[in-house]
């Protein structure tokens, strides 16, 4: 623990707040944007800290820029008020930081993209896109490449943790010049911007635009659906309320069929805070607890939700072993995007496990009549109360494994349980997307029991 963190903890103890945690983070990023106003290059350096402190009656949260300050943010502390504060305790949770050592990935020390390099990457992407689709018009490109390091300490639980990370993000929005309603957005993330492949990204966006421009949708149709990773990952992201938090078990149980099945045997869902090569991989979470791979759903059986250490205590006592579920252990899953934010439980790398024996072509070739859903054309909508899940999609109609016509302006719709139990095979091509602060992954999957219908207003696009 650095001296500055200790000084803040001492200062809070002196104010009669014995339960306290200090978190400090520094980061730097290079951002290149191209839009209607031209090209902009930003160099950002951020530094901030936050403290949570309290006793058994009251608590406070204070955050500020700069290094941790024992005098409080801006030289003063707010009053503690309201509720008692509870922080994790290393001994009570049985945490041994040495039991499962984490090896930092070697690319953390690689420099950020230089200005020329970043501008070159954006320009190359534009060239590749125009080569694929000459009629394309870029509405905006945003490329960010950043690095950060953080440190955390708390008392009296004796938690101390630190970490470093690298992340890069690319967002591109484009339309077809002759058909403005044919628009598409591409968002990808990697540990470093040097990992982005401009040609592959351009091809993906061009495919989306071409399909959006030429495709149409049946009024309603069923049939076999093969869903590519980009669309499948969005559907997996829609399952987060069933997989995260103290209420997740209750919500998931409502979706089980009369045999107690939550999902098809092909479905195994995992969240892994230490995923090798993962954009958000870290030894510890936003409360300093060790991260790990957690199996949430195993071969269709709901095993456990992702819960904070505090929720784990509420979910468990004496009733955790029913119906094949495991006892919910506290696993580091507190997401803390920045120093201004309070830690909240959430996934880091949530993915539908692939099957190494099956290729996407195997799934496609087996389809007599159906659709290949290439990508999502908007966010997933989940209504747990009504058991409905829907996702705007683009892709192709398929007959005997061959694409016959482009599909656009369609919505994949059905019950959440129908989706989970309708997945009868998954392929090996696992791919990840950045969704709502997490990386969510899925391979190509084959699905039955869901319906495609034309969007209420088919504009051939949508965002």
């Amino acid at each position: 623990m650095s001296g500055a963190l200790g000084e803040v903890l001492d200062a809070l103890a002196a104010r009669g707040l014995p339960v306290a945690e200090v978190f400090a983070k520094r980061g730097r990023a290079r951002v290149v944007e191209e839009g209607p106003a031209g090209v902009s290059v930003s160099y950002l350096r951020e530094e901030g800290w936050a403290a949570r402190a309290g006793d058994d009656r009251r608590s406070l949260f204070a955050a500020g820029t700069g290094p941790p300050d024992p005098a409080g943010p801006g030289g003063s502390w707010p009053e503690a008020d309201g509720e008692a504060l509870f922080l994790p305790d290393r001994e009570a949770l049985g945490i041994d930081p040495d039991s499962d050592p984490y090896r930092e990935p070697p690319d953390l020390d690689a420099p950020l993209l230089g200005e020329r390099e970043a501008l070159g990457l954006v320009a190359t992407f534009g060239q590749e896109l125009r080569a694929e689709l000459p009629a394309v018009r870029l509405l905006g490109v945003r490329l960010a490449d950043g690095a950060s390091d953080w440190e955390l300490a708390s008392r009296p639980g004796g938690i101390a943790a630190a970490g470093r990370s690298r992340a890069a993000f690319l967002r591109v929005e484009a339309v077809l010049a002759e058909r403005r309603e044919a628009a598409a957005v591409l968002e990808i993330a990697a540990r470093s911007a040097r990992e982005f492949d401009p040609r592959a990204a351009a091809r993906r966006l061009a495919d989306r635009l071409a399909v959006a421009a030429r495709g149409s949708s049946p009024a309603r149709d069923r049939g076999e659906l093969v869903i590519a990773p980009a669309a499948a990952a969005r559907l997996v992201a829609g399952l987060v309320p069933l997989l995260v938090g103290g209420r997740a078990i209750e919500l998931a149980r409502r979706l089980e069929d009369r045999h107690g099945r939550f999902a098809a045997a092909a479905v195994t869902l995992i969240d892994d805070g230490r995923l090798p090569g993962g954009v958000l991989a870290a030894a510890a979470d936003g409360e300093g607890l060790p991260t790990a791979a957690v199996v949430l759903v195993e071969a269709g059986a709901y095993r456990r939700p992702l819960v904070s250490w505090r929720e784990a205590a509420e979910v468990n006592p004496g009733r955790g072993r029913g119906r094949g579920r495991t006892v919910v252990r506290a696993t580091g899953c507190a997401r803390r995007p920045g120093w201004r934010d309070l830690p909240r439980p959430g996934p880091s790398h949530l993915y539908l496990a692939p099957d190494p024996e099956i290729s996407p072509a195997d799934l496609l070739s087996g389809v007599a009549r159906g659709y290949y859903l290439l990508d999502a054309d908007g966010p997933v909508t989940v209504d747990l109360a009504e058991d409905r899940l829907s996702l705007p999609v683009v892709g192709f109609a398929i007959e005997r494994g061959q694409a016959t016509a482009p599909l656009a302006g369609a919505v994949l719709e059905g019950g959440i349980g129908s989706f989970l139990r309708g997945i009868d095979a998954v392929a090996r091509d696992l791919g990840y997307l950045p969704v709502a602060g997490a990386m969510v992954g899925a391979p190509t999957l084959r699905l039955t029991g869901m319906e495609l219908r034309r969007r209420e207003r088919d504009r051939g696009s949508g965002r």
Binding site: S42, A63, S76, P78, F86
Partner: protein
């Protein structure tokens, strides 16, 4: 009461201006420095720890715009070293000699606020809800926002600006609700009214989809419509997605009784502005005069070299983001219709007093207003509740369907705007209005 005096007025802005002048290479360059302090005080919903929350941040950004390209460097501290560092980072060539680093000692932050001011608010809302003879579960978070900025250019240094406002966020069993408030007077009832309406509509069915609905928008709902359909549509960068922004001038976008302005200088007093986030003087900007586009929203970048576009509408979400043209305080000039007249011509239509979200697709001009609940109008009065629906249309299509404008304009928050992920509070003074022949999707 929160002091409206800036703690940034002690910055040595003259020295900062001299230092900035080293970056310019002629009149065609645009250079500025942006200093900011932000304070957010939050009282979370009851039962949520930590109990009282304070966030304070300060920092600076230096920007250079040259030949259609811009460079920005931001730091999370207000110090001569950070300023010099940022200056060096955006400089395209090293100057022959550097001016001494300016003294950047902001005044001390005020004493940390107490929870008292905000603590009364949830109680006031609960009391106001009880006065409607209803009760329902509610988790209310209250925040006070304070932002100070100082912009410095190589030649002009405006006075610092201070904005103070409040926001409320409620979690209900049937959805979320939020509001911006320029002050706390009357906040309890202002929050209770829409919350009670949500409660009363909680089990109501959405209306059948139709393309020719009559909708009366209350002042608050009209503010969101204005923001999406006029404000965003007439931002220079939005217009540039489909052509030259100047080409929009003279386009008839609505009926002659539709006049809309953006005037940060007449916003509610605690958020009133004299200059924008680039330090340019704000003006009473006629976006639509008698239904015709007159002056799109522009900043310094878009107005340079243009004989039509004028600066003064730049906003920045934070020092980490470059400025862009956005509205601050939209005004819809009142018409002649009394409230009863608006409803009298809307039999079978909908009275919409809240809009939960609005979105404009700049590429197509289509936009959507999401209505969480409304009332059916029968015999000129609000009757049975109606569940969630959307109002859809194109910008020109919807503004041309404004059939009557109310005569009583009300100021208030139009809500948080998050164009491009850049979150900003937006304000409006608008009367109620009636739309005829609009598309409603249940």
């Amino acid at each position: 009461m929160v002091p409206a005096v800036s703690t940034l007025d002690s910055l040595d802005t003259a020295a900062a201006a001299r230092a900035l002048s080293q970056l310019t290479d002629g009149d065609h360059d645009l250079v500025d420095a942006y200093f900011e302090r932000i304070e957010e005080v939050e009282l979370p919903a009851e039962g949520e720890a930590p109990g009282f929350r304070l966030r304070r941040e300060e920092g600076l950004a230096v920007r250079l715009v040259r030949d259609g390209r811009s460079w920005l460097s931001a730091r999370d501290e207000l110090s001569p070293e950070a300023f010099a560092d940022a200056l060096r980072q955006v400089a395209r060539a090293l100057p022959s000699a550097f001016y001494p680093e300016p003294r950047l000692d902001p005044g001390p932050w005020p004493e940390a606020p107490s929870a008292e001011e905000l603590a009364e608010l949830p109680l006031e809302v609960a009391r106001a809800i009880r006065a409607h003879h209803v009760a329902f579960p509610l988790r209310l978070t209250a925040r006070r926002h304070r932002r100070e900025i100082q912009v410095v250019g190589p030649r002009l240094v405006p006075d610092p600006e201070v904005e103070v406002f409040y926001s409320l966020e409620a979690e209900l069993p049937w959805g979320r609700w939020g509001a911006l408030l320029p002050g706390l007077a009357g906040a309890g009832e202002a929050a209770a009214e829409p919350l009670v309406e949500r409660f009363r509509c909680r089990n109501a069915s959405p209306p059948e989809a139709r393309a020719d609905a009559v909708v009366v928008l209350s002042a608050g709902a009209a503010a969101v419509l204005l923001h999406e359909a006029v404000g965003h549509a007439l931002e220079a960068d939005t217009l540039a997605l489909t052509g030259r922004p100047e080409a929009a001038v003279g386009f008839a976008m609505g009926p002659e009784w539709l006049s809309v302005l953006d005037d940060p200088g007449s916003a509610p007093e605690p958020v009133r502005r004299r200059t924008d986030d680039e330090g340019a003087a704000v003006s009473r900007r006629w976006l639509l005069r008698s239904g015709v586009v007159e002056q799109p929203l522009a900043d310094r970048v878009w107005s340079r070299g243009s004989e039509v576009l004028a600066p003064g509408a730049a906003r920045r979400a934070s020092r980490h983001e470059p400025p862009g043209p956005r509205s601050t305080h939209l005004e819809l000039l009142p018409g002649e219709a009394a409230a009863d007249d608006l409803a009298a011509g809307a039999d079978g239509g909908f009275l919409v007093s809240q809009v939960s979200r609005g979105a404009l697709d700049p590429a197509t001009g289509r936009f959507v207003l999401e209505v969480p609940c409304a009332r059916r109008i029968r015999r000129g009065t609000p009757a049975d509740p109606v569940g969630r629906f959307r109002i859809e249309g194109t910008v020109a299509g919807l503004t041309s369907r404004v059939a009557a404008v109310g005569r009583e304009a009300r100021p208030g928050g139009a809500g948080w705007c998050a164009k491009g992920g850049r979150k900003l509070p937006v304000w409006a003074t608008a009367p109620a209005l009636r739309l005829e022949g609009v598309e409603v999707v249940g």
